[in-house]
């Protein structure tokens, strides 16, 4: 195993001696998923203490039972279901709370950093978020209730039907309430703690409508949004708004959807009135009610009855509607780029190819490194510049996976499609010999204070 090891890798194996000076990391996430394990492995390779993992399931349950984040963490520290895999937790005694409050004695370096990670892929967590989203008046951040509300009492016993998209607006209300409460309680119990990505920023990044407005207001290139004087609340409104704007091709995106979930490429032929909606959203009528679910393959709807049902639902749940611009091509595929930005630096990048307008479908789409896809330095400069500009619009956040498209044509321009606060889970791509988590942790170790909320963010000139 040692043979063929690079210098960088050897450095990574070397344990760090002064670990007490290390910035402790609290990870709020789902233990044992690829994200958490990937991050812990990266920390281990770098000789950093493992992050203390606070599982969402535990946090949300304790909240529901009237407790706080401090109670949840206390439970973790007492070993009840502790989730760190090996070694001592970064703080055993006294508790995190006293540790964090003693930063004047320990120096600023011991101030813990909190990483909020993705809540997805765990049904228990999904149910708790739906529950949280069903409770009224929890948050000034949240919007009006959607039509497809699941009553609070039902949420916790909800059985998972694979692929089904449950009340996305309600889920999002719950998720925003969760973020807000983490922010509030963290401020209360550990006033010196810092977030890797600010919870309020995460809420904005997650909301495609707000995020695109926010980026646009900061001068970042984004696809033009379909403007309408009236709220677009259903299919008829959408048709009218498209006609008025002369915008015949749009993406309709579930405001809080992640990945390809709830994304529709929709176009109307102004000559014939024909319409086509391309999406992974499947629809099924069950006892008079339409069930929406994620399908692994692309669907193509051309019947108005189907398209109107789809659009009615998306608009009611909240949708970002933007111009569908032709993306740059590689061979017969179109592509966009997932660009990781952390600490003001653009690093890992993956080109996502597709034979459909939707590039971020995980199951089938081919991925290439930029150089493999024939992207030259000039083009990647444009991508990275725009991605860093997008990140700079969130000065209190440190890292995001930014989706960037290049427009078709001889002089491609970079547009920001999405800012993913948890977009650092990227496989098979390295930067300076490091995977995404290793690179991020190395950056944090080297420059623990070059972090949003501490000093500055790197505004572009």
């Amino acid at each position: 195993m040692m043979s063929g090891m690079t210098e960088m890798e050897e450095n990574l194996q070397r344990p760090v001696k002064n670990s007490e000076l290390e910035q402790p990391l609290l990870l709020i996430g789902n233990p044992n998923n690829r994200r958490t394990l990937g991050l812990q492995e990266a920390r281990q390779r770098l000789g950093l203490q493992p992050a203390l993992v606070l599982p969402y399931a535990r946090l949300l349950k304790i909240w529901r039972q009237g407790g706080t984040i401090a109670n949840a963490l206390q439970q973790c520290l007492e070993g009840r279901g502790t989730t760190y895999t090996q070694g001592e937790p970064w703080v055993s005694s006294p508790t995190l709370m006293s540790y964090a409050n003693h930063d004047s004695a320990h120096g600023v370096k011991s101030v813990p950093l909190i990483r909020i990670d993705a809540p997805g892929e765990e049904w228990e967590v999904e149910r708790e978020l739906l529950f949280l989203g069903a409770v009224k008046d929890i948050s000034p951040l949240t919007d009006s209730l959607s039509a497809s509300m699941i009553p609070a009492a039902q949420t916790l016993t909800l059985e998972q039907e694979w692929g089904r998209i449950y009340a996305p607006n309600q889920w999002f209300r719950g998720w925003k309430a969760c973020l807000e409460r983490i922010a509030r309680e963290a401020q209360e119990y550990w006033p010196n703690a810092r977030f890797m990505n600010d919870p309020h920023d995460i809420a904005i990044m997650f909301d495609k409508r707000k995020c695109q407005q926010h980026l646009s207001a900061h001068g970042v290139h984004v696809p033009p949004t379909l403007q309408s004087s009236e709220l677009i609340s259903n299919y008829e409104d959408l048709r009218t708004a498209m006609k008025t704007a002369g915008m015949n091709r749009v993406f309709v995106k579930l405001a809080c959807g992640s990945g390809a979930s709830g994304v529709v490429a929709y176009q109307i032929n102004p000559q014939t009135g024909a319409e086509i909606a391309i999406t992974t959203v499947g629809m099924e009528r069950v006892q008079g009610e339409i069930i929406f679910y994620n399908e692994g393959r692309m669907r193509r709807y051309t019947r108005t009855s189907e398209i109107s049902a789809l659009m009615d639902w998306l608009c009611a749940e909240g949708a970002q509607i933007e111009r569908w611009m032709a993306k740059a091509t590689y061979g017969s595929s179109v592509f966009d780029i997932r660009q990781l930005v952390a600490g003001g630096q653009a690093a890992h990048a993956v080109v996502r190819l597709s034979q459909t307008p939707i590039t971020n479908l995980h199951l089938r789409n081919e991925r290439l490194l930029p150089v493999e896809a024939g992207l030259d330095e000039h083009q990647m400069d444009g991508v990275q510049k725009e991605a860093k500009a997008a990140m700079a619009a969130f000065p209190n956040s440190w890292s995001a996976g930014i989706d960037v498209m290049l427009s078709a044509g001889t002089e491609p321009r970079a547009y920001i499609l999405d800012v993913n606060p948890f977009g650092d889970l990227l496989y098979r791509v390295q930067h300076n010999g490091l995977g995404t988590y290793e690179w991020e942790m190395e950056l944090l170790r080297k420059e623990p204070h070059n972090h949003a909320g501490y000093e500055h963010h790197r505004r572009l000139p």
Partner: protein
């Protein structure tokens, strides 16, 4: 400068840039004189705008491109315009304006006409579309193209403009229509079996080197006729890729020695046993 592709991107179109301007700029460059291949890509909202916007400019400036051998009108992807939505026009003036042309490719068939088709030097004619109107098929069967070596037609489906039947395709299987023709592509058809059966013993096979029946709904029915034909065995290559033949039929093709045949991209019928050609979107 060998090949140039002109595309009006989204940004360009919003900025008021039109294909006409790009053609003028290209014609003004000194390299225009040596340009051999010109590809006209998206001219901007091609589901609404036809090439009429720039046709006059291109034909008018034909003398600026004395070396042009290849011309492609409408090279755009689904992100720019659905194939069946691309609006074409009568493109015959281009054949007149470029008498030195050897290769002419068109994508999109909505509003397309080529009447009459006459060209002394054209060697290659390719029409890519979701459905080819029978009026265009008729024009081709009346065409005067003494040098034509390759004819490749996407026939498509009736939903997207194919309003013909086998009767409209049959004239293209006559021998001697294009005396130098060695490559015939009758592809992407929803009546691919009928075409295969008609083509299997067609006199034109005696002059062909390559028969291309790919991208369509070919099943074992059409394949049986092809396998049984001695004329097919004499071809240099038979392209049947993207098809609905059975596994058993694929084994039979494998065992039929001496035939160079492409049977890749086997398709499965959908739940309702519908079979779709490749380019039906």
């Amino acid at each position: 400068m060998q090949e140039v592709k002109l595309t009006v991107s989204y940004d360009d179109y919003e900025d008021g840039i039109r294909m006409e301007k790009l053609i003028r700029e290209l014609a003004a460059k000194p390299e225009a004189g040596s340009l051999e291949s010109l590809i006209i890509g998206d001219w901007g909202q091609a589901y609404e705008n036809s090439p009429d916007e720039f046709m006059g400019t291109l034909t008018g400036l034909a003398s600026s491109f004395p070396s042009l051998k290849k011309l492609f009108i409408g090279d755009m992807g689904f992100e720019e315009c659905e194939v069946s939505w691309i609006i074409q026009t009568n493109l015959t003036p281009l054949l007149v304006a470029f008498p030195e042309l050897k290769s002419f490719t068109v994508k999109g068939s909505s509003g397309l006409s080529l009447e009459p088709i006459e060209h002394a030097k054209l060697e290659e004619l390719i029409i890519i579309c979701g459905g080819l109107p029978k009026s265009v098929l008729a024009s081709i069967s009346r065409a005067k193209l003494p040098e034509l070596r390759k004819l490749e037609l996407y026939l498509g489906v009736d939903n997207y403009g194919f309003d013909g039947s086998l009767e409209d395709v049959l004239p293209l299987l006559e021998q001697g229509l294009f005396p130098k023709l060695v490559y015939l592509g009758l592809k992407d058809s929803e009546i691919q079996d009928e075409i295969a059966k008609a083509a299997a013993e067609a006199p034109i096979l005696d002059q062909l080197e390559i028969l291309d029946l790919s991208e369509g709904t070919l099943s074992d029915e059409g394949a049986e006729a092809l396998l049984a034909s001695d004329k097919i065995k004499k071809l240099k290559h038979l392209n049947l890729s993207y098809h609905y033949m059975s596994d058993e039929m694929l084994i039979r093709w494998k065992r039929s020695s001496g035939i160079s045949v492409d049977v890749s991209e086997q398709q499965q019928s959908d739940e309702d046993d519908w079979r779709y050609p490749s380019l039906t979107e």
